[in-house]
């Protein structure tokens, strides 16, 4: 397996993308390098890494072995050699960037994000681990019923910055909708209140451009998944990956492998054709909403017919930054996600039911006492 790690031109230490500075930093000599400087130095090696035919053969061989053992899709273990210490590391076939568990140096598995799997764009991390931790703790400050120890430093040791793959779709279309709607007029005459209801058939046609409709491009497998160390239920993971949105797409950049250095990254395993129906449904829904919004003067709008003609559809494969921390509570492992760009948080929080019920009981007693004391005024 071809691997790549980015080393400091000055001291040879590992280079990692620094979200705060938006530059590449060496944690040993504290040197900073721009994206262009790193690209100049590593572009040739990146190309070699992604074109290595032996790597393709090796990957095919490992996949065949995994299938024999009963693994499906890209969720099978793959070994590689750390370019820094030479240790053999196991990861899944979809992992595109990670750390060596022995020397902790960042490793980019270049072959995973090459050719058709090369992302179009990437949004680099804008908040670092410390800031992500602060965001998490700030959110926890307002939550009084978290169990003891939930916000301890132990929770954050395993926090990981992960680039998750997403599809972004833009579509240009002409949509038409037929609907019925009502208007009402009321007036009073004598002791009667009259209501006149008029029904209209409404026709609308418009040229519509809908942009940046995002869909997750990573299959979420069940509990035995080792992706991103998130061994939690499929539904929770799907929710997590959709609820960290929105991202500020004005900050997206053309993909460069170097952005992955220092983070974990996942390769997409959901293709366009798998999402065609989902995207079509969402586009129809959005187009209908836009056309329906032009019928504001009517009530009780009922859509009778909708049709559209797509002129253009663009799909962009993008890697998005998410900080992930998992925690175990009452035997359930739950992930918590923080948008690596905006700091938006998502995650089902554990709740200390004893605390909530205790406070609820106090509230109940206080209300009971107030009602009894207040009642004395009415005797």
């Amino acid at each position: 397996m071809a691997t790549l790690n980015y080393k400091c031109p000055k001291c040879g230490g590992p280079l990692q993308f620094n979200p705060e500075k938006q530059m590449f930093s060496c944690e040993y000599c504290f040197s900073d390098f721009t994206e262009q400087e790193v690209q100049q130095r590593y572009s040739e090696r990146e190309q070699q890494t992604t074109k290595d035919e032996r790597d393709v053969e090796y990957a095919a061989k490992q996949k065949a072995e995994a299938e024999k053992q009963g693994f499906e899709g890209d969720d099978y273990p793959v070994s590689y050699s750390c370019p820094s210490c030479g240790a053999e590391i196991i990861t899944t076939a979809s992992t595109a960037a990670t750390h060596c568990v022995y020397c902790q140096n960042p490793v980019v598995l270049g072959g995973r994000l090459s050719g058709e799997f090369k992302p179009d764009t990437v949004i680099p991390f804008a908040i670092d681990k410390k800031k992500a931790t602060d965001v998490f703790l700030n959110m926890c400050k307002k939550k009084w019923f978290l169990p003891k120890g939930f916000t301890s430093s132990k929770q954050f040791e395993k926090m990981q910055g992960v680039y998750f793959p997403y599809w972004y779709v833009d579509e240009q279309m002409r949509s038409s909708v037929t609907a019925t709607g009502q208007t009402e007029r009321t007036w009073t005459s004598g002791n009667r209140r009259y209501t006149e209801t008029s029904t209209y058939r409404l026709y609308r046609t418009g040229d519509i451009l809908i942009q940046n409709v995002a869909e997750n491009a990573l299959k979420i497998t069940e509990e035995n998944s080792v992706k991103a160390d998130i061994k939690v239920s499929q539904k929770t993971k799907q929710e997590m990956l959709s609820c960290v949105h929105p991202f500020d797409l004005s900050k997206q950049r053309p993909f460069a492998m170097s952005y992955l250095s220092g983070f974990q990254a996942e390769k997409r395993d959901i293709e366009k054709q798998d999402l065609t129906d989902v995207i079509a449904r969402r586009m129809d829904e959005y187009a209908t909403t836009l056309l329906k919004n032009t019928m504001n003067s009517y009530s009780g709008i009922s859509i009778e017919d909708y049709n559209d003609e797509t002129f253009k559809q663009d799909w962009r494969y993008t890697l998005l930054p998410v900080w992930i921390v998992t925690y175990k509570f009452n035997g359930e492992l739950l992930p918590f996600a923080i948008n690596g760009q905006t700091g938006k948080t998502y995650g089902k929080l554990p709740i200390a039911l004893g605390k909530v019920i205790g406070i609820a009981a106090v509230i109940a007693v206080v209300i009971f006492a107030l009602a009894t004391l207040g009642g004395m005024l009415f005797l």
Partner: protein
């Protein structure tokens, strides 16, 4: 001459006496003590009957430990008002004790009622009240009020001797504000409003738990796609075609309110009969 004058004077005196006696108002008989009270404002009892009633009512009252009352008048009180009217009468007259039983004859309206107060209430459950009424009815039907009063006093003695019935119902007994006010206010409030506070407290506590569990469970969930920000539309065609029209009406009813107020009295009651 003197003899003749004397005769004339005597005749005059006799006439004056006769006239005086004939126009003198009849004074109601009444007698009372802590144990009994007999008031015959309607003058339906003879002196002997009155005296007999006083004696037996006093004996019954002494045995019972509460006042046994027989009262007659001609106030012409409607049957539905007797309860309220005679309770007020009882409470406002100092000769009546807080604990007692009272039989009332309204000779004008021909209504009767038995009322109980304080400690006497417990001896007169619903069944006994019905029994007294039944036993008095034959005498009342025949117009023998004295016999009815005697039977009433006898029944009082009988029930006192028998003691309080163990499983009696007392729907005839209305607890009075005065009785209630003997309880500490907080207890009264607890009885009257405690259940409201309890239910409200439990409901609010449940809502509190559910809201918090929801907040923790759905932390960070929400709309993630801003359609307005990510879309553009040029409207090419917009037609609104009229299809139909219909008119309905509702009649506006003028609102009118009425209020009534009523009070409860401190007693048990047979209901008028």
């Amino acid at each position: 001459m003197i003899k003749q004058l004397s005769k004339r004077f005597s005749a005059f005196i006799c006439v004056v006496l006769i006239v005086t006696i004939s126009v003198m108002p009849v004074f109601a008989q009444n007698s009372y003590s802590v144990n009994y009270a007999v008031t015959d404002d309607s003058n339906i009892f003879t002196s002997e009957q009155f005296s007999e009633l006083c004696t037996s009512a006093e004996a019954a009252g002494k045995q019972a430990g509460f006042q046994v009352v027989v009262h007659t008048d001609d106030k012409n009180v409607d049957s539905s008002d007797m309860d309220t009217y005679y309770n007020k009468y009882h409470d406002s007259d100092s000769k009546y004790q807080p604990d007692g039983v009272m039989l009332v004859f309204d000779t004008k309206s021909n209504n009767r009622i038995i009322l109980t107060y304080g400690n006497a209430e417990k001896y007169f459950d619903d069944a006994r009240m019905d029994e007294i009424k039944s036993s008095l009815k034959p005498a009342l039907s025949s117009g023998d009020n004295y016999k009815a009063a005697t039977l009433y006093i006898a029944k009082v003695k009988e029930y006192v001797t028998a003691g309080v019935s163990g499983n009696g119902t007392y729907n005839n007994v209305v607890q009075t504000p005065a009785e209630k006010s003997n309880e500490p206010k907080i207890l009264q409030s607890l009885k009257k409003f405690g259940w409201i506070g309890g239910i409200a407290g439990v409901v609010i506590a449940i809502i509190f738990v559910l809201v918090n569990v929801g907040r923790y469970k759905y932390n960070g969930k929400g709309g993630t796609y801003d359609l307005n920000k990510n879309s553009q539309m040029t409207l090419l065609d917009s037609q609104d075609v009229f299809v139909s029209k219909h008119t309905t009406y509702t009649t506006i009813q003028s609102s009118s309110g009425s209020s009534s107020s009523g009070g409860s009295s401190s007693h048990g009651s047979s209901g008028s009969f």
